[in-house]
Amino acid sequence: MQAINQVWTDERLEAAICGAQADREAALRHLFGGRKQMDRVKKYVVNHGGTEADGQDVFQDAVVLFERNIRQGKYNRQSALETYFFAIVKWHWLTLRRRIKPEVEFNPSTYDEQEQPVDVKIISDDHREVLNSALTLVGDKCKKILLLTGLSLSNEEIAREMGISSPEMAKKDVFRCRERFRELIRQRPGLEAILQSMLRK
């Protein structure tokens, strides 16, 4: 775990976000625990046609996208982490505005787009609906296990986090939970349309 007085460099922040749960949380809290980034995002959104509430939503979405992109290795280190976060904010707000007001032609220069486009793809509402209904049936223990596997924790780390007696037992639990979750997804009404849409792409 990072020491409390750790000097956070971008490199360390990136490593911590991809690391153990406690480190990940410490790094994210360091970045987003205060009001600085949120106030900055709100100001940006308000200055670009949104409300304070939009700014609040954009901030939360951007943190989620930022964390996911870092964890999935989509951050190319060509800009500072803070700059990268703000690029996500800008592109996400632009995407949202296009969706809310498709009739308005947005001029990218309005948005001061210096950065390359970043991945701001969020999980679609129809997918969310099906997945959330499957997740409510999967059980608390499996939910936690799925979350930890999503964070790429090893079986050993999962065993430790969950109080499971051994990594081997954890491996079995992971396998069972993932299978159960996929089976629940298969049983969801509405899945057919989603599959068709996914297979068309």
Binding site: E25, R35, V63, V64, R160, G163, S166, I185, L195
Partner: protein, 314 residues
């Protein structure tokens, strides 16, 4: 499903296939509707896991935000602002305030710390066990249960029982550490539910209702080879400790420790040390604690170090 195919789908979604493998896999997907659907289900499973991560993160953001608001409120109430202070970040003022309070608390704790019990003392020691003077390991601080052990009845104030102070004190220390490190852990097992009809479950029920003798009798009958054998041995050790049968508890924990080279064995080693101290075998316990403080997982190392230090002061 064929495990190789599962691995292949995972590798494809991880973008870990070579260009040729990827092209071949995509060709197979294009020609096989069932395979294409399976890949889509795996993709959805991943999205589901991302949703869980997202939900947890959003919750954390709200918590951090609320904590930040609380900090601001506290700071605004506690410290009158003047124009110079307004320019300082709120957190610094809070840290300063907390530092002052912490320092005072440490000084007071030091000043009022109970002295070691002595047969020559006119007044009896407090009936509770003191914690180590140095900071206990972090996990200890998180426990809700206070490290209080039932002390001598008040009537003994006039006729103090003369015991070897070291032994009595060390036993109480071991019990205090035990109570703090055990908690709900005893009944947790390996995180899986115990079927209601098993002897282990019956023993757990007896343990909960403090019928230790019956719990121990049941647990001793569970044979090696039973799927719940090691859980039963864990509980047997704790049952015997709770019964104050420290020698037998040490035997049970030693058996677990010797035969389990894993987390269970590691924990058993710690409880073996506590049982040995409580049973008056401090020399062996000290050697064991030194081992734990060198080669156990970091958290347990801290525990062992703190206990060694506390023993050293006695």
């Amino acid at each position: 499903m064929n495990p190789n195919l599962l691995d292949k789908i995972e590798a494809y979604l991880d973008n870990a296939l070579s260009t040729e493998e990827k092209a071949a896999f995509e060709q197979a997907v294009a020609e096989d509707q069932a395979l294409a659907e399976e890949v889509a289900i795996f993709q959805l499973e991943r999205e589901g896991r991302e949703l869980l991560i997202e939900a947890e993160l959003r919750e954390k953001l709200l918590q951090w935000n609320a904590a930040e608001e609380d900090d601001r409120d506290l700071t605004n109430r506690e410290i009158p602002e003047n124009s110079a202070q307004k320019k300082k970040p709120a957190n610094w003022r809070l840290i300063l305030l907390l530092s002052v309070f912490s320092s005072l608390a440490v000084l007071l704790a030091w000043w009022y710390w109970p002295l070691e019990p002595s047969v020559n003392q006119q007044s009896l020691p407090e009936p509770s066990v003191t914690t180590p003077r140095n900071s206990p390991p972090p996990i200890l601080q998180q426990e809700e249960k206070a490290p209080v052990v039932q002390g001598e009845p008040s009537i003994k104030k006039t006729t103090p029982k003369v015991t070897t102070p070291e032994t009595n004190s060390e036993q109480q220390l071991a019990i205090a550490y035990y109570e703090r490190s055990e908690g709900a852990d005893v009944l947790r097992g390996d995180g899986t539910a115990t079927p209601a009809s098993t002897p282990l479950q019956a023993a757990k029920d007896d343990y909960r209702s403090k019928n230790f003798a019956r719990a121990a009798a049941t647990l001793k009958k569970i044979p090696e080879g039973d799927p719940y054998y090691w859980q039963a041995q864990d509980l047997l050790g704790h049952t015997l400790f709770s019964e104050k049968n420290y020698a037998e508890a040490a035997k049970a924990f030693r058996h677990i420790s010797d035969r389990n080279n894993n987390e269970r064995g590691e924990k058993a080693r710690w409880y073996l040390a506590l049982s040995l101290i409580a049973g008056g075998q401090s020399d062996e316990a000290t050697a064991l604690l030194k081992n734990i403080s060198n080669d156990a997982e970091p958290e347990m190392q801290e525990w062992a170090k703190a206990l060694l230090e506390a023993l050293g002061r006695r």
